[in-house]
């Protein structure tokens, strides 16, 4: 269709976004197919879905003139049509080919996007063609119906008002599908030309349908009492009722809006500016308070509090808009595990948990590679070969569990395997060979993690495909720390390995605790503070170059900001300590005074010249002064390196002050 290219070029972003959705959905469905063998109704539904995904991919690829994608989608669709119509049976080889086809489509579209050479499709096309020629199978039997089910007729009459309040026919359909199986959906026209929809719903006898649908605007009848449908007599043409003014702009029924991420960033930045202005206003208000009569001051104060609350709500709403289910990261993993397990001759089952946990879109994009690396590691280094596992009394099939959970403002992602665990001796030997410094004495898990994450460390002698793509553990750790997160390791020889990534839900605006040292203020993200304690100076003991304080039957290393940053402190007989981190990563950050809790707008320090380890950014509390935001994870690590001067780099501190 020559001549269209210019016209439809503007839709390429829509095309990429939509094809990604269909490809992801197709991949999900394909991976589910294995488990549906022996369930003809479910298998058929899955095949129908797949057919539609490829059908739509074919149509939209044709529109943007991406011929190879159109042709490939066409062949996949053709094969699925043959299966749907009972001319072909779905075989394991067929599923593999569909998976390969899906992946190839993904590659074609991504190559088109990056304007690189498109991969060939001949092999997949030929494979599909040969499958279709294979003998046909008899038509599948009709879907089983249980006598346990009762048929209900649910009637829905759409109106503008209902639609506006979220009760559209699609919402009704979805709700009904949650309660039972919709076997029929028919639109009807009644005597007054009113359109209604009749859904036939199969529901187990045990379910109280009427009660379930009490808040849904449908009438419910058991099937026997339903009257035959009446073909309507129309209203006189041109009567008022026939033209319920389709007002102004066109309405869209889709409840999803795609928004360019940069627009959301912009919105978030505006809210950030407002938070700062609000803090400034609050600061000014405090200064004029005594000049204002009490009665009027109260009104001002009430409004200020209201603005505070509304601003917080606005901020939270925008943050929610940016949140997407972490499932986006998880979805690619089954493919990776499947391929890699096959290549390495291992049997691996992947369990995904907490896929609906929501995190900032920004984080999703950056977490993909680290999680991918950890999963690859788990397959190639963690899980043992089936015979080894059997010899150790384990199931031949290893399990990798990916878990996401959100608690408060912190998201936790875990990649766990039940494999051989980290071989500490091998790690130490390898680290020595690589010339890395190894802490003396018994190593705990955080020491091992530090070695694994040291640049230049790799336990495999040759860089193999899966882990040798430049994204080593060092990069994993660096990425997570850039996102103000932490990595922890938990491993047990013979039992398995678990990597725990903890991150703030969103980065732009956060709640923080403000502490004061001498004349300087510091902000610490509230999510990383577990506890605030008071410690008398007398309880703090010197141990080599470190200071420790008694804490819950153990010892807590103390970091004094005053010393690290070379600020004159004002000794007061006791210090306030923010406890951050857990286990051997726990560390206390000591300040003179705690100012309180504030909402801070995080401005990261991008300039490498003024970047200092342990400081993640800066913020403005509203009084015009810039306050540094501390990164407890890095501070803790620096403290454990037993080189207090590492952050006490006077030159760096000087540059930071100049920056302020």
């Amino acid at each position: 269709m020559a001549g269209n290219d210019a016209f439809f070029d503007g839709f390429l972003d829509d095309y990429y976004a939509e094809s990604e959705e269909h490809l992801t959905a197709a991949a999900d469905t394909l991976l589910r197919l294995d488990k549906l063998i022996g369930q003809p109704a479910a298998e058929r539904a899955a095949v129908d879905d797949l057919f539609r995904y490829f059908h739509t991919l074919k149509a939209i690829s044709a529109m943007v003139e991406l011929k190879p994608a159109e042709v490939l989608a066409h062949h996949l669709e053709h094969y699925l049509r043959a299966i749907r119509d009972g001319e072909n049976a779905l075989t394991a080889g067929g599923t593999d080919l569909l998976i390969e086809g899906t992946r190839r489509l993904e590659q074609i579209i991504s190559a088109h996007r990056t304007q690189t050479a498109l991969p060939a499709i001949n092999d997949v096309v030929a494979g599909v063609a040969s499958l279709i020629r294979v003998a046909a199978r008899p038509a599948a039997d009709s879907p089983e119906r249980s006598s346990e089910d009762r048929r209900w007729i649910c009637t829905f009459v759409p109106t503008k008002e209902l639609l506006a309040s979220g009760f559209g026919v699609d919402a009704i359909r979805k709700r009904l599908a949650e309660i039972g199986t919709i076997v029929d959906a028919t639109p009807r026209v009644g005597p007054n030309a009113t359109i209604s929809f009749e859904f036939t719903l199969l529901v187990p006898y045990s379910v109280d349908v009427v009660q379930q649908l009490i808040d849904v605007p449908v009438t419910v009848q058991a099937e026997t009492t339903v009257n035959a449908a009446v073909e309507g007599t129309a209203l006189p043409i041109g009567s008022d009722a026939s033209a319920p003014a389709a007002s102004g702009t066109g309405t869209s029924l889709s409840h999803v809006v795609r928004v360019d991420l940069s627009r959301l960033d912009h919105l978030m930045q505006s809210v950030g500016d407002m938070v700062i202005s609000r803090a400034r206003l609050s600061d000014s208000l405090t200064r004029i308070e005594r000049h204002v009569p009490a009665v009027e001051w109260r009104a001002v104060q009430e409004n200020a509090v209201a603005i505070d609350r509304q601003l917080r709500m606005l901020r939270e709403s925008i943050m929610r808009v940016r949140l997407v289910p972490v499932g986006e990261i998880f979805r690619r993993m089954p493919f990776v595990v499947r391929d890699l397990a096959r290549e390495n001759g291992k049997k691996v089952q992947l369990e995904l948990r907490g896929q609906t946990t929501e995190i900032d879109k920004y984080l999703i994009e950056r977490l993909m590679d680290p999680v991918l690396h950890l999963v690859r590691n788990a397959v190639s280094h963690g899980i043992e070969a089936p015979d080894v596992r059997l010899a150790e009394g384990k199931k031949p099939e290893g399990t990798i569990t990916l878990t996401a959970a959100a608690v408060g403002d912190v998201v936790t992602l875990e990649v766990a395997d039940d494999g051989r665990g980290v071989d500490v001796a091998a790690v130490v030997e390898k680290a020595r060979e690589a010339g890395l410094t190894i802490p003396a004495g018994a190593l705990d898990v955080s020491d091992i993690l530090n070695i694994l994450c040291a640049p230049g460390f790799s336990t495999k002698r040759e860089t193999d495909r899966e882990s040798g793509r430049g994204v080593g553990m060092a990069v994993v750790k660096e990425t997570i720390e850039q996102l103000s997160g932490t990595v922890t390791l938990d491993t047990e020889p013979g039992q398995g390995t678990r990597y725990i990534l903890q991150l703030p839900v969103t980065l732009a605006i956060a709640d923080a605790l403000i502490g004061r040292v001498g004349v300087e203020s510091f902000a610490i993200p509230q999510g990383s503070v577990r506890e605030v304690i008071d410690v008398p100076e007398a309880d703090i003991r010197q141990l080599e170059q470190n200071e420790i304080a008694p804490y819950r039957d153990g010892a807590l290393p103390i970091i004094r900001l005053a010393r690290i940053f070379g600020i004159p402190d004002s000794p007061a007989g006791h210090v306030h300590v923010f406890v951050t981190g857990t286990g051997s990563n726990a560390v206390g950050i000591a300040v003179d005074r705690i100012v309180g809790q504030r909402e801070i707008v995080v401005r990261t320090i991008a300039d490498p010249l003024v970047r200092v380890d342990g400081v993640s950014g800066a913020t403005d509390l509203g009084d015009g002064r810039v306050v540094l935001i501390l990164d407890p994870a890095v501070l803790g690590r620096l403290a454990r390196q037993r080189t207090p001067r590492a952050i006490g780099d006077a030159a760096a501190w000087g540059r930071l002050r100049a920056f302020k």
Partner: protein, 130 residues
């Protein structure tokens, strides 16, 4: 003011259809991603022309066509079927079910807007009866 109902499960195609029909003067658009929602729109809005995809989840375009043609209140509405090319049986089925016009994807924007414009003109010509 002409209201055009664009029915397609692909948001990209709906956007492309709308863009192509920007050439039609004083057109406004309503969209529906499924057949059921297309019929719901007929109930709540006045529609002058329908651009209809055939292969959609939960209600096939042919069934939407049949529904509209069976009902005296809506049967006058011109329907442009816009479906993926290469399916000859569906052309026949669509014509039998009462499609006013049948176009295939990939489509040329000018052809679509020309077709819709023609159908709207014809409606205006016979508009005296309405």
């Amino acid at each position: 003011m002409h209201t055009i109902l664009v029915v397609d499960d692909s948001p990209t195609i709906r956007k492309m259809v709308r863009a192509s029909l920007q050439a039609v003067p004083s057109a406004q658009f309503i969209e529906a991603p499924t057949g059921l929602e297309a019929i719901e729109q007929l109930a709540v809005a006045r529609v002058d022309v329908i651009v209809l995809d055939l292969n959609m989840p939960d209600m096939h375009g042919i069934d939407v066509l049949k529904f509209v043609r069976r009902n005296s209140r809506y049967k006058h509405i011109p329907i442009v079927v816009l479906t993926t090319r290469g399916d000859d049986s569906s052309r026949k089925a669509a014509e039998e079910a009462g499609a006013t016009s049948y176009l295939t994807k990939p489509f040329a924007p000018q052809v679509l807007s020309g077709t819709v414009q023609e159908l709207l003109n014809a409606t205006v010509d016979s508009g005296a009866q309405r």
